[in-house]
């Protein structure tokens, strides 16, 4: 599964975002990270192969998440469903 890495000065946390390339909420989440110079990786799930989609589905569900986007995973432990700005800020300490 190929992720796109967005460089940033703040690399305190490992951030992975499952997103949709067409989604307004995902764009807003990406902008929040970019504006705060957060280094992160993302995958646009709608552009993935069906095999990768299935892997992502299993990953999200195995972590107790829901199939909504964006789904943000911080340090492999915290999962945030949807663009919950307060929770994202809290997890990333921004």
């Amino acid at each position: 599964m190929r992720t796109t890495k967005v460089p940033g000065e703040n690399n305190k946390h490992r951030v992975l975002m499952y997103a949709l390339s067409t989604c307004g909420w995902c764009k807003r989440a990406k902008r929040l990270l970019r504006d705060n110079s957060i280094e992160y990786e993302y995958i646009d799930v709608d552009l993935c192969s069906m095999e990768d989609r299935e892997r992502i589905r299993r990953d999200i569900l195995s972590r107790g998440g829901r199939l909504s986007y964006p789904t943000i995973i911080v340090d492999d432990t915290i999962l945030i469903t949807s663009f919950q700005e307060d929770r994202i800020r809290e997890a990333l300490e921004i």
Binding site: L20, C23, G24, V45, R53, E54, S68
Partner: protein, 184 residues
């Protein structure tokens, strides 16, 4: 070819007909309209930009914009799942827009994945076909609106009648019975 202008006009006209408004955040709105345009170019139908599509019309039918869940979401939260359509108080900035829970049933969401990573290409095609065939063979029913007579053929009745705006409760199933008696 679909143009952004066409997508915008369609959304504006639909919002007007229902007494809704479009998202007041112009940048957010632009992103949603662009997403709808991309989906229409990709799948031939404008499925919700904030949900994952399977690419199969029958499977995605309920999330083609305006989606089946819009009216119920606007009624409960003031705006739909992607926040394209909003209520008057929301358009005036009196109610903030935050993500809302997904109303689409999980089993329907799963159909956009629906393939295990080990599945071969042939099996993939078979399973896709199975998902397409299933609704038409087993789950599809005829529904009619008791208020205006509108008839549709789908798994479940719509949340709101697209013609007279009656609620889902006004829909009843049409059960067809073949009469096998001899005609005198």
């Amino acid at each position: 070819m679909t143009t952004l202008q066409k997508v915008r006009q369609r959304a504006e006209s639909d919002a007007r007909s229902r007494g809704y408004y479009l998202n007041p955040d112009l940048q957010f709105l632009e992103n949603l309209l662009e997403g709808l345009k991309q989906n229409e170019e990709r799948y031939d139908y404008p499925s919700c930009p904030c949900r994952i599509s399977s690419g199969t019309f029958e499977v995605d039918r309920d999330i083609i914009c305006p989606c089946d869940y819009r009216d119920a979401d606007v009624e409960e939260y003031g705006y739909c799942y992607c926040a394209l359509y909003v209520r008057k108080d929301v358009s005036e900035g009196k109610t903030p827009i935050r993500p809302i829970p997904e109303r689409r049933p999980r089993e329907k969401q799963e159909r956009a994945y629906a393939v295990s990573a080990e599945t071969s290409t042939e099996k993939l095609a078979e399973r896709t076909a199975a998902f397409v065939d299933k609704p038409s063979e087993a789950k599809m029913k005829m529904w009619y609106c008791k208020q205006c007579g509108y008839v549709c053929f789908r798994e479940e009745p719509p949340y709101i009648c697209p013609i007279c705006k009656a609620k889902r409760e006004m829909f009843d199933e049409i059960r067809l019975k073949a009469d096998t008696r001899d005609v005198a």
